[in-house]
Symmetry: C2
Subunit: 502 residues, 2 copies
């Protein structure tokens, strides 16, 4: 991965830099990240005239980001600005000052472009093909309708958390009157979006700091078992509860609210109100959180260079391979384990009756089963699960992430216990995990010496016994010996004995 790119995004509340190392179309990895709450929109007048101090703070931060990019030897810097600058009467002043102090070329995105890049980030990283994408920012809110992975309507409203807060949140805790005014202003802003109806698509996806912070508050309140935001789903009822909590608490109380970044403690209520308005107006019962957005969308344009529309053909398969690659996986071994797992899966079809989805999960888990070895050989099945949980896997629900992590966890040792993740899983998932990992475990030990000696297998099932006959291209005694030592999980999961024979 010898290409490096820096992506800078100057918002109305925050400015951020991400640094990516990548090889186009093949693999990528985040290598650095910085953010600074610059509040560029602070005190801006109705025609968006930016104030000297916020401008100075923002230029200062951009200078730092630029220096960091140079120090990291990036070949490319992509810097964009959104609503604060877009609407500023004095945007040329700002650009001139910036030009004087750095060599940054700042591209001012239109509302449609901002919506587009947010959409690219979401569509490439969430299990999402149809629905509404909402991006709540400091100075504007983008609402985009997506049908069959393509944008059908995009809108950008010049209403964001910074200006809403300045205008309506004058009291602490907020007074009834202020709250009412805020609620009405938000409702009026989005009234014209008459296409925001549930028939647009089943899912509402949200991105941006406001959404991430609200989701984190919800996770803390619920004691959610994963430390993972991307793909998290929270309900409108949960949002109602958080709005009540924020409404009743003082700024000081909010500053120590678990999950909330203290620099957002002042503006979070306004953000929550925007989100709530959109969920009720469109009658969406829940929101799926995206950890990716504008910056990642911009990145994908460079990463998937040459494509007219930078969408992954198969984001899940891509990202599983990406994780395997950046974890230095052993490709030959993983391929063989995949192959043997799927042979077992297919030939045991009548025992488990699972479909394409389970087959796909088993396939991905086989690809990733050993990535924990980079942490250390001892207990590496546990490390693989840790890496899956903490990865940037794209296109999976949390239930699927838990499933993949648990399959890697149980690929070589242990009796399945998924009680920690009960709230994320469905009732029959424990059995599903036991059965799939039982097959993965047999496949793993049939590749015990990592020499790809077994080229095929044939399964014979009768009432209480499964016999697996293997065909090898060399000496497979270790494989057969060790696979036969690891059948306990299979016996429990399927209620049948199993024997591996040459």
């Amino acid at each position: 991965m010898h290409q490096r790119i820096g992506i800078i995004d100057l918002g109305s509340n925050t400015t951020r830099l991400i640094l990516m190392a990548y090889q186009p179309h093949l693999c990528f990895k985040l290598i650095d990240e910085v953010s600074e709450t610059v509040r560029l929109a602070e005190g801006a007048s109705d025609d968006g005239l930016l104030q000297p101090l916020p401008m100075k703070r923002s230029i200062e931060a951009l200078k730092m980001f630029y220096t960091l990019c140079r120090a990291a030897d990036v070949q490319q810097i992509v810097a964009v600005a959104t609503s604060a600058l877009r609407e500023a009467a004095n945007q040329y002043d700002f650009l001139a000052q910036l030009k004087q102090q750095t060599e940054l070329d700042l591209r001012i995105l239109s509302g449609e472009e901002e919506a587009y890049y947010g959409y690219l980030g979401v569509i490439n990283s969430l299990p999402f093909t149809d629905g509404i994408v909402v991006d709540i920012g400091g100075g504007s809110t983008e609402v985009t309708a997506v049908r069959g992975r393509a944008i059908s309507v995009a809108s950008s409203q010049p209403v964001g958390v910074v200006r809403l807060t300045e205008r309506f949140v004058q009291s602490d805790p907020i007074s009834k009157k202020d709250f009412r005014a805020l609620e009405q202003a938000v409702a009026a802003t989005f009234a014209e979006l008459d296409w925001l109806k549930p028939d647009v698509g089943p899912t509402m996806a949200g991105l941006g700091g406001t959404v991430r912070n609200l989701a984190r508050i919800d996770q803390k309140l619920r004691n959610y078992p994963l430390d993972r935001l991307h793909g998290y789903i929270f309900t409108r009822e949960a949002l109602d509860d958080i709005v009540e909590l924020l409404r009743r608490s003082t700024l000081r109380e909010r500053e120590s609210l678990p999950g909330l970044n203290r620099e957002r403690a002042d503006v979070i209520l306004a953000g929550a109100m925007i989100l709530r308005q959109l969920m009720y107006q469109g009658d969406f019962p829940q929101l799926m959180v995206s950890g990716q957005g504008l910056r990642e969308g911009l990145f994908y344009e460079y990463f998937l260079t040459g494509q007219p529309l930078p969408l992954f053909a198969d984001k899940r398969a891509f990202s599983v391979r990406n994780l395997a690659l950046i974890s230095n996986y052993e490709a030959l071994h993983a391929s063989k384990v995949r192959e043997l797992s799927l042979m077992l899966f297919d030939q045991l079809q009548s025992l488990h009756n699972y479909g394409q989805w389970e087959r796909e999960m088993l396939d991905y888990a086989a690809m990733l089963h050993d990535i924990g070895v980079q942490v250390g050989y001892y207990d590496h099945h546990k490390h693989s699960a840790y890496l899956v949980f903490n990865s940037a896997l794209q296109g999976f629900t949390h239930r699927e992430v838990v499933l993949l992590a648990m399959l890697t966890r149980y690929h070589r040792k242990g009796s399945v216990d998924v009680s920690t993740y009960r709230v994320i899983l469905q009732e029959d998932d424990e059995e599903r995990i036991a059965r799939l990992s039982a097959m993965l475990r047999i496949a793993e030990y049939l590749e015990r010496s990592k020499s790809q000696v077994i080229h095929s297998l044939r399964v014979e099932c009768d009432a209480d016994m499964v016999k697996v006959y293997v065909q090898a291209v060399g000496d497979a005694t270790v494989e057969v010996w060790d696979a036969n030592r690891r059948t306990r999980l299979f016996k429990r999961a399927f209620g049948k004995d199993i024997e591996i024979l040459m």
Copy 2:
């Protein structure tokens, strides 16, 4: 690391293989491990005549290990056997059969050699210089006195868990009579060790599967917060409780006892009785568990090749560097962060009054602070802590491991919270961790662009303010800017404001 070695150890209960990749004197890493409960000593007569079935099982396992070594392209295989074979009247039969079926050269260790390699494993990996090393095996028990890192007395008694169990555990749960007989036999066996007194040295260290399993049972009973055995300390009172538990439970109950490997469920009580006898006889109130032993001791002889006695000059420093190296750390960045951390530590001496020990911990944490980046940049401070907790760090107590992990955890973000580890830490450790990680955090951000621009710093303290003047060899604006954004932890930990100035 292009050298690979396989170490095989054929015991009376278990046979094991470890595969190591290494570069002599520089770094090493475990790359594979297998074990099989072969019970070679099963049914052996008083003169140690091995039975055909146990011999067959053992040879079968050794053949598998040999095949695995060949598949892994090891240059060297070191295979040793201990008491079962040492004492067997038919040891030549066994060796002849083995020779027929593999090319393994099996070296039969004397009791003294067995004690020596166990001692090498312990002395190179635990915080231990004086005391008693106990190795409880299937067929023998080695007790070794160590003074100033050297062996002063070594003894090997032909009493191990397999034969003791066969002889005394006839009832289930064990009858009072059998228990008494077991207790008396064990006491009689070690009666001659009249040098086993507390004045030998303060610590008793234990190795082998029995000790590891007893410790794991204790950890489960106590809900111990670390999933780490090496360096774990358990008390004689805890051992008494476990003996009572084992004594009262049936084999079936023991088979599902949390922490206990079910293949040891039959022999564990006999093992516990040996350990208890030695702890009482020598009046040792607690035992420190070693995860390393005979196999690692044999490995160190190859790893530290050329040394008359294969001991690390400084095991802690070696193993911190080893962990950094196998985690592909950025050496220049880590060195600079170490240097700046220690400059801060030294110049803030009057504020914290810490000594050499804390300085050493800060130094090691600075070396390891970024190893989590290999997992992923996002939240890499948490990954660093995970890697430290799951590493094979040598020579540290659990308190020190928690300290190192927490310093890496807080090196860039977050307010210190160590409540999870309260039972391992001392009362003032939370403050200690906050202060040391506050210094580490300032140092980290003074190396923000990883360009080593700051070459020295000068600290000025007055009643409520610390000023840090940095001297740079290039543009250090990013460093000073970012370090000044990260002072909250320092302010809280030291109760003083801090400012970084150029």
